[in-house]
């Protein structure tokens, strides 16, 4: 290995990803996002800015939302990592996911995983969040298609447990 390369060999790291104990051999410099996308094979968390600006890579680390591009994989040893892929049970969607579809809370969908994971963390903390709490929860998640208004509506619908404005089959 060249001196210019900071690769000092891989380490075996065990973490619980979406409830399943997972062992990966990773370089110390590899961030959690890349561990998930390349070593675990979960590509739902997206790589966009790689510096904690956009939120597209948001996952839960021991239950709290984090930008997985800012966390090293080796820091997750023994920890619980939850990603967008763990949210639905089979094809049974989480209410937030269903609300995103019903309220068209995305266009291209590239930020969607992060938006949903940020809101999931909010709802786990406070099932009846205020509008302000909803906005704050996703204020670190950029959406270039500009679906913000519908993202907030989707979250409000989950909170209010209201029937969606429009049904999928109409």
């Amino acid at each position: 290995m060249s001196d210019n390369s900071p690769t000092s060999g891989k380490q075996l790291v065990t973490m619980t990803v979406n409830g399943e104990q997972t062992e990966v051999a990773i370089e110390p410099r590899r961030v959690l996002l890349d561990v998930l996308r390349h070593d675990v094979g979960l590509t739902g968390s997206k790589k966009v800015c790689e510096m904690g600006d956009c939120g597209a890579c948001t996952v839960h680390l021991d239950g709290a939302p984090v930008y997985s591009c800012l966390v090293l994989g080796i820091e997750c040893a023994g920890k619980k990592v939850d990603t967008i892929e763990g949210l639905a049970k089979g094809n049974q969607l989480d209410p937030i996911q269903q609300a995103f579809i019903d309220h068209d809370a995305f266009q291209c969908g590239f930020c969607t995983s992060g938006q949903i994971m940020s809101l999931k963390a909010l709802f786990e903390d406070s099932p009846k969040p205020s509008d302000e709490q909803i906005v704050t929860a996703v204020s670190g998640n950029l959406c270039r298609c500009g679906a913000y208004q519908n993202i907030v509506k989707a979250a409000q619908a989950v909170r209010d447990e209201a029937k969606p404005e429009t049904r999928n089959d109409d």
């Binding site: 739902g44 291209c108 270039r144």
Partner: protein, 771 residues
Amino acid sequence: MTIKTPEIESSKNDGDIELSLPLQQDLTDWQTGHEFTVVGKPHSRLEGAEKVTGRAQYSADVRLSGQLYGAVLRCPHPHAKLISIDTSEAEALPGVHAVISQNDQFDIDWYSEEAPLFSDQLRFVGDEVAAVAAVSTEVAADALRLIKVNYEPLPFVTDMDQALADDAPAIHDGDNRVEEDSEYERGDCAAGLQQADITVENEYRTQTALHTALEAHGATAHWSGDELIVYESTQGVHAIHGLLCEKLGLPMNKVRVIEQHMGGGFGAKQTLWKPTLFAALLSRKAGRPVQLLLDREGENLATGNRNSTLQQVKLGASNDGKLTAIKMTCRINAGAYATAGEASNVAGIFQHLYHCENVKTSQVRVYTNTGPAVAFRAPGYVEACFALESAMDELAHKLEIDPLELRRINYTGRDQTGDKPWSSPDGLKTCYERLDEEFGWSQRKAPSSEGSIRRGYGLAAHEWMAGMGNPPAAVFIKLNTDGSADVVTGTQDIGTGTRTVLAQVAAEAIGLPMESVRLLLGDTAIGGVAPVSQGSFTVPTLAPAVRGAGENLRRQILEAAALLLETDATTLEIKDGEIVSTEGKHKSLTVADVCDELAPQSLQAHGSRRANPTDTTIRPFGALAAEVAVDTQTGEITVIRIVNAPDCGRILNSKTANSQVIGGVTQGIGFALTEERMVDHNIGLVLNADLEEYKIPTVADIPTITHAEVNLPDLNANNTGAKGLGELPLIPAAPAILNAIFDATGLRFTQLPINRARVLAALQAQQETAE
């Protein structure tokens, strides 16, 4: 039972539909009073579940056996000569499988200037110098650091005004003008200004803005035998297909471009960029699949931007508000190269939006040592609408005519450059009515002041040169033996809802429920040629062809059903997958039953898009109003609410149409208030090639945005009455916001974006003038 499947004659396949039977439901039914069961409904996106579960596969998510990861080395200088490049250490690094650079001597030209793919003339910070493929993104980054490049920095110019100075460094041969000035005049502009009772004149500047699609440019390339398969993030799979074949000298049956989902493009992904070709070349060299996706810095530096402009605008009008002259002269910052794709048409809106006999426009692109510009959602029109609609607002203020009334006074239902009617001559008028209704423009309060907060209202109108659709498009539908249908198209869904909207059109035309239709797209190996998703073209191009194929298929189903029922096909129709009489009586026969009888034979149908009419000019229009609050202590601007009324013809899906409106307006708010690529002209470096300092709107910046549906089927445009929508809502947002700021504060800003610093400086100047 046997049935002869009707032959589709290619010579008859260039129109909407060739009916052999005089069916009652023909094309006219989509024109007046037709009761739609699927079209127009707020159907949720077909790919919704894939996207909310993280299962949707974007180009960046492709994982192939032995896949390598690419990275690009970029020039750190705004202008330099590459003296030498040594890649040997990078190639020797364990894990590195291929390096490409000038040393490979590829015979491939790039950009309109036909610069080589790897040039020894480097013309902007971020110009590509080399690319590597390695076992991981980390090792690829290590390899870039081991490449030794000897540059000779050259004099540079990054500022558009300075680029036209006599002593400016030449970026290419010549004087830094990309081309001769593009001139237009009708009537006599000088005379029109002479006869005006009043004139307004200003110089407007718009900034360089970045598309900022969250998914970066790039591709995964894989040589399967002698066939190249590319998973690309693009607005046009067929365009990429053609360009890859051209650049690599390959026949089209040896290249396949695939894209099922893409994470935003907004214009910047309408043509082939170097990273995709690098992936293909690296993959060929390494003998393994290569995924090369740009990092955010590369994305912001080198894959296009909305060109900055300098526009000199002069309007002349009589005291009753009628325009006597419009004059506009414009410079456009092209960056270092003229890229392919849609041109930025700044002059268009000045020529078209208002009735005026005397119009003169002139525009020219200027080279600078900055990243090349490329079309960005309504290129030219976003920049120009800000200038024209600011000037119109100023005119309204000076004449003491209501801004909406001034626009009505200068209404035209005709294309004055082609001297023919607009396809929807009342389109813009209807936008004005809907805007007035939904926003309450005529009933709005006077601008108000409460403490340091001042509130005001502004509006802007626009047309858009595209949105008419751009043939050709060919569509094929196969009816499965269970009565469900696969609609095969060559288009792509760039996040706009194409998949869903076209499935609705197919379901409606055939008579099937939505769940019986699958819409296939995004694969050049299965779908016929379709245009790039640019210019709001996709729906007005594809939907008529889908409808044509659907109606063809329906006719065949009914012919078969008529044989089974021993009746005349003209007495039958299909509703929700069931064969019914034209009076609506059940026949105890479904489309699935018909298919069952036909099996193992099956039905299939083609449709294609006919040319656009020549006796009319197809145009979408729009109008937008904004209410804003300005805090005169802090300079903070808060957009309170926006109503947008776009005329996109018939609305095929109200849910996805709403999303286009709120999304476009949201981007417009960014263009008005926060977004600007910053360059230090002294050192030639881009200061904010990231998402930290390039500020796009967040959820906290967004007002209530309302889509005032116009939904005026444009029956002169095509057989569905639908025009494009995607670009419309962005065009008028900035001028409406700026006009509202004027209404609130009396401050007329002529430069974008307007941030706190500029507001505070202007307020201070205003106060000093008052004293």
